[in-house]
């Protein structure tokens, strides 16, 4: 590969006669500015106008709610993977002795850095990144989101789930024909098992 070391030439440091005159350059600068006045504006009038964010955007992490119940099985993996230790949870057993659910699930939004690692490691696709980014609080206690604010219905998160199914899930290794309802362990009716 032809990579060279190129030295500049001395003339690039010298001003021409017009440059030395000083004033023409000031007018050149003005002309540039005036030209830019007539260009279309790019400023977004936030919050009246919102940016157009696709499903790939990583907003605040939320829990998927399916059939009025969380998908989460309280395995604790997201809390382990979270770099700034934003997630804390307390597991409990459901009526079915085979399953567990998170009794308490809290994400401290002041600690969260929106890295998406929780979503990446979750074995149940129970925690995903929502497009929601503009939320605020007046108190530090308000910033700890519990299950009441974290649980979002699956229908609302469908764009992100579709995006993940397409982009992330099958990308390398063997192509496995995976059935989506595998992710709903906790929802399964085991009365006839």
């Amino acid at each position: 590969m032809a990579s060279n070391i190129i030295k500049g030439d001395k003339s690039e440091r010298e001003l021409t006669f017009m440059g030395k005159l000083y004033f023409p350059e000031i007018f050149k600068g003005m002309a540039f500015s005036i030209k830019h006045i007539f260009r279309p504006t790019v400023t977004l009038q936030y919050p009246e106008e919102k940016p157009d964010l696709g499903p790939e955007f990583r907003g605040r992490p939320v829990l998927v709610k399916e059939k009025d119940q969380e998908r989460c099985v309280a395995c604790g993996l997201c809390a382990r993977a979270c770099p700034p230790l934003a997630i804390s949870m307390q597991a409990n057993e459901t009526a079915d002795p085979k399953e567990r659910f998170p009794e308490v699930f809290e994400i401290d939004m002041l600690r969260c850095i929106y890295c998406g690692f929780c979503e990446e490691v979750c074995p149940e696709e129970a925690i995903v990144m929502s497009p929601d980014y503009d939320f605020n609080f007046v108190d530090r206690k308000d910033a700890v989101y519990g299950k009441d604010r974290l649980l979002i219905d699956k229908n609302q998160l469908q764009p992100r789930l579709n995006f993940l199914a397409e982009k992330r899930n099958k990308q390398f290794g063997k192509n496995i024909n995976f059935k989506e309802d595998n992710n709903g362990h906790i929802l399964r009716d085991r009365t006839n098992d």
Binding site: I6, A81, N182
Partner: protein, 430 residues
């Protein structure tokens, strides 16, 4: 210590970290003096704190300067206001968990940092990365270089007094960030690189988006060049200011564009190729003068070279996987995790234990970031987190030269000098 010598120290009331403040002022007053001199007899010397909140210092850099009129006689540069203990954090996180923290070091080119970290860990643990992933990383690294240089260009010209240029470069940078958003999911702190590959694939739409942006940017870039070439004001603010000789540059550890502006043709992309740089054509601009203007020229040419690299990189992206398929080194694909017990076990093992390089392994791996040589020195003790992580950050080593550059120059040049070495305090202070 007689009161006569430490004149300034006795006049101020030190409340905030008094010992540290005291040491700084003492160092300033002691500089370049070998004999005890009488207190400035005419009272013409003045001590000024430039920063840490001064907008022209590009973050929280503090320069304490002693001036005689407009002339800077002595200076002491104080870093550390943005210290977050990143190296220590690395020792307490798994290799994978630490990756988002690197975004927050040189926050103007997060992707370069991600890549530098992942390459270091991959070298340490012997992870093979698929060719396509390396290719996409190279694309993103060059985009990051352009975006970092755009910010430098805008702020540097603004430091010299022209504010509108800043708005124009920021508009282009915004477009670049939109592309990062489409590619990685977030505009700024991308966290897109993974040990053993990357997170999501680069779709053809995004590739076309980058090509469109690039064609548009070429025109913009040409017009900026036209504005700054032969511009008397700009030339006079830069030529002959802050000259750093070749010897000084090497002795004080200058890196990156600043080093090349002093006549040392060192670029890691060329001499120790990483990623896919050995497959690409690009030139290394070098200048001998070592002044602010030379540093400006180098960075402008580097933008042009990055565009040239993007031209070659985007023509066609090799097909293949984007992450290594080895459960001991990287996460398995999500389908495998959802489907099979082995996949799930690997998912848990990777999260809890992470990549475990061999015990005692020790490496140094560096890349050419936008600011210069960004290196990681890692020592493994066989567990999932490094036993020691030392970060060689380019901004920190570039700042070592600043004291010497400031002394003997005018007050009005300080902002241009700081702008021309382009420090990012998030990285210098770590």
């Amino acid at each position: 210590m007689s009161n006569k010598v430490y004149a300034f120290r006795d006049k101020v009331n030190l409340t905030f970290f008094p010992k540290h403040q005291d040491a700084i002022y003492r160092r300033l007053e002691d500089k370049h003096t070998s004999v005890e001199v009488d207190e400035d007899p005419l009272g013409t010397l003045m001590t000024i704190n430039l920063g840490p909140q001064h907008p022209a210092t590009h973050g929280v850099l503090r320069c304490v300067i002693q001036v005689n009129g407009e002339l800077i006689l002595k200076s002491v540069v104080d870093v550390g206001y943005l210290h977050r203990g990143v190296e220590k954090l690395a020792e307490n996180k798994t290799y994978q968990e630490f990756m988002p923290y690197t975004d927050r070091m040189d926050y103007l080119a997060p992707y370069s940092n991600n890549v530098a970290w992942c390459l270091a860990v991959e070298k340490l643990a012997g992870v093979e990365v698929p060719y396509r992933a390396q290719w996409i990383r190279t694309i993103a690294c060059e985009m990051a270089r352009i975006s970092a240089h755009l910010l430098w260009l805008g702020t540097m010209v603004m430091d010299a007094g022209a504010i509108s240029m800043f708005l124009w470069t920021f508009r282009e940078r915004e477009n670049l960030y939109d592309l990062f958003d489409k590619m990685a999911g977030v505009r700024f702190t991308v966290s897109h690189c993974r040990i053993g590959g990357i997170q999501y694939d680069l779709s053809d739409d995004i590739r076309k988006g980058i090509i469109n942006w690039k064609e548009n940017f070429k025109k913009e870039f040409k017009s900026w060049k036209k504005l700054l070439t032969n511009n008397g004001i700009w030339y006079r603010r830069n030529i002959g200011i802050g000259v750093v000789s070749k010897e000084d540059a090497i002795a004080m550890g200058f890196t990156g564009p600043s080093l090349r502006a002093s006549g040392v043709p060192h670029d890691i992309r060329l001499f120790e190729p990483y990623l896919v740089y050995d497959k690409l054509d690009f030139d290394i601009p070098v200048r001998d003068e070592g002044d602010c203007f030379a540093r400006f020229q180098i960075r402008m040419e580097e933008i042009a070279q990055s565009i040239r690299l993007l031209d070659q990189l985007l023509e066609s992206i090799p097909s293949g996987d984007i992450r290594a398929d080895n459960a001991k080194h990287t996460y398995p694909s999500k389908n495998e995790v959802y489907y099979s017990m082995e996949g799930m076990i690997h998912d848990f093992m990777m999260t809890d234990m992470g990549v475990c390089p061999p015990k005692g392994a020790e490496i140094y791996s560096a890349i050419e970031g936008p600011k210069g040589e960004l290196g990681f020195h890692l020592i493994s003790d066989g567990t999932g987190s490094p036993w020691r992580c030392k970060i060689k950050s380019p901004s920190f080593s570039n700042l070592q030269m600043l004291e010497k550059m400031l002394e003997g120059s005018m007050i009005a040049d300080t902002v241009v000098l700081i702008g021309s070495i382009d420090p990012v305090m998030g990285e210098a202070d770590k």
